[in-house]
């Protein structure tokens, strides 16, 4: 279980080494993660799939360096994570765009912080704005965009900084079903075009199967890994194919036992 096939240490991008996390407040302890171990290969698309409130966001935040584990450590590209950094882009559950910046301003924020010259970062931002299908919206402010478009900007913003790792926390959770399918297709397309190591959190099984190279099924709180599924279906995937539906049934019934 621990070792997924013939992974050599060299191409492992993310390594979570027995992570524990307990939130402590004045009169309460809340154990959220218990002994979480995971290795993710370079350019692998891993979906963390688990029930609501099980601690998915917390796992992702620890990988991002936004939250500290109580015990255990995370390595990205061999380096121990102690704080957030530009090697890990993040797309958030709620829209986290800067309302005072235009689409262009938001997307070029990362390279700008790192001091990339205007011409170069504009070109790069433009590339990703086009890639997520927002050409023509560069000068719009986020408030004028629909939820789906805002998440597109969020994705472009994460990619534009060129991080080897991108973490996405239920980026489509707040979208209507139609937009959601569309966004899943778009993200699938972007991921085949722009290879990155991706950790994608969701509680939507279709989304998980549609996007993942590997699905990591999480238990309820305190969460740990219950089971893993390598998804070998050819891309782009078909939500209605038999293989898809069989997998869906299999994972769902496993999930029901968890709850």
């Amino acid at each position: 279980m621990e070792n997924t096939g013939t992974v050599t240490a060299k191409n492992i991008m993310i390594k979570c080494n027995s992570i524990f996390k307990t939130f402590e407040s004045k009169d309460d302890e809340n154990e959220v993660i218990r002994n979480f171990n995971l290795e993710i290969k370079e350019n692998e698309f891993v979906v963390l799939f688990g029930p609501g409130q099980c601690g998915k966001t917390t796992v992702l935040n620890i990988i991002a360096g936004l939250e500290q584990s109580t015990k255990g450590e995370v390595f990205v590209n061999g380096r121990k994570i102690t704080e957030p950094g530009p090697d890990r882009g993040m797309v958030y559950q709620t829209t986290a765009l800067f309302p005072w910046l235009t689409v262009m301003g938001n997307v070029e924020f990362g390279p700008k912080s790192l001091g990339v010259k205007k011409k170069e970062r504009r070109e790069r931002a433009q590339y990703y704005i086009d890639l997520v299908g927002l050409k023509g919206f560069e000068k719009h402010y986020p408030i004028k965009l629909s939820g789906g478009m805002q998440q597109r900007v969020g994705i472009a913003r994460a990619y534009c900084n060129n991080p080897p790792v991108i973490l996405l926390d239920e980026p489509f959770g707040a979208l209507d079903a139609q937009t959601r399918y569309l966004m899943e297709e778009e993200l699938g397309r972007i991921c085949t075009k722009e290879k990155r190591t991706i950790v994608f959190v969701t509680n939507n099984i279709e989304e998980a199967i549609y996007l993942a190279d590997r699905i990591v099924l999480l238990t309820n709180c305190p969460t740990t890994i219950r089971k893993e599924y390598i998804i070998g279906l050819p891309r782009p995937r078909d939500y209605t194919s038999n293989d898809f539906l069989t997998l869906r049934k299999e994972i769902t019934s496993e999930m029901d036992e968890t709850i």
Binding site: G85, T102, Y141
Partner: protein, 257 residues
């Protein structure tokens, strides 16, 4: 589009009705004697006379207006220029906040008018005392609002900045201050109106020029027309100033909420 036109028409209509009712109450029905409330027509003619007449207070109207504006703007600008950064620094730096806040909290509860006597003792009745008073009254709202604004910054926005490798000073300049900007402008707006109001109060007590002074002199000799003229000018100049500030705000605050 047609909605804004309609809105403007209604405003104009309400303003004109106000003048008409005022005219009817005074010149037509004589409900109030002219020495206590002059008619709008009388006030208008006083306005044109006073533009070039120095009686009864020693200065022509434009001098009074300029004197008031000068003091108000000097005081307001210095209050804003010092108060806003102070509020931002307090909100950003915990230690600094702990040091400064107790003193600030003590001083901020003193109403602007309460400062007048000590200012007169310290600085006399010249421009300086008044500028200092306006400074105090506009300083406080600037500090409070910029402080509140910085505190509004969403922790997710800070996270975004951190995952992009932003430095501490970038977090302040690129995330916290833009978040605070609408609040900072609220502070400026409040400051400006408080400044303008306390100025008139100050001029009523101690001045040799200015709109408040003009009203004060008019009161001692029973010139109600000059009093009403002064009041209307104070109101309209205050209005113009806040429209100007709104214009600046629209240039700076983007993206709406």
């Amino acid at each position: 589009m047609s909605k804004t036109i309609k809105f403007k028409l209604i405003s104009v209509f309400s303003f004109i009705s106000f003048l008409i009712i005022w005219q009817i109450c005074t010149d037509v029905l004589h409900l109030l004697p002219p020495y206590s409330l002059p008619s709008p027509i009388k006030t208008f003619s006083t306005f044109f006379v006073k533009i070039s007449s120095t009686s009864p207070d020693g200065s022509v109207l434009p001098i009074h207006i300029l004197a008031s504006l000068q003091v108000a703007l000097l005081g307001f600008l210095s209050g804003a220029v010092l108060g806003t950064p102070l509020g931002i620094t307090m909100a950003w730096n915990k230690k600094f906040d702990m040091m400064v806040k107790p003193v600030f909290d003590l001083l901020r509860t003193i109403p602007p008018i309460g400062w007048i006597p000590i200012m007169i003792l310290l600085l006399g009745i010249g421009t300086q005392a008044k500028v200092a008073l306006i400074f105090v009254s506009s300083f406080v709202p600037c500090v409070i609002n910029s402080y509140t604004g910085i505190k509004q910054t969403s922790h997710i926005h800070f996270w975004v900045g951190q995952t992009f490798g932003a430095t501490n000073s970038q977090l302040l300049r690129k995330i916290a201050i833009p978040t605070a900007l609408p609040f900072i402008f609220t502070g400026l707006r409040v400051s400006l109106s408080v400044a303008w109001m306390s100025l008139v109060a100050a001029e009523l007590l101690a001045a040799t020029r200015g709109l408040g002074y003009m009203i004060q002199i008019a009161r001692t000799i029973g010139r109600a027309d000059i009093i009403v003229l002064g009041m209307l000018l104070i109101g309209s100049i205050g209005g113009v100033l806040s429209i100007l500030l709104e214009y600046v705000e629209n240039k700076f605050v983007k993206g709406g909420v």
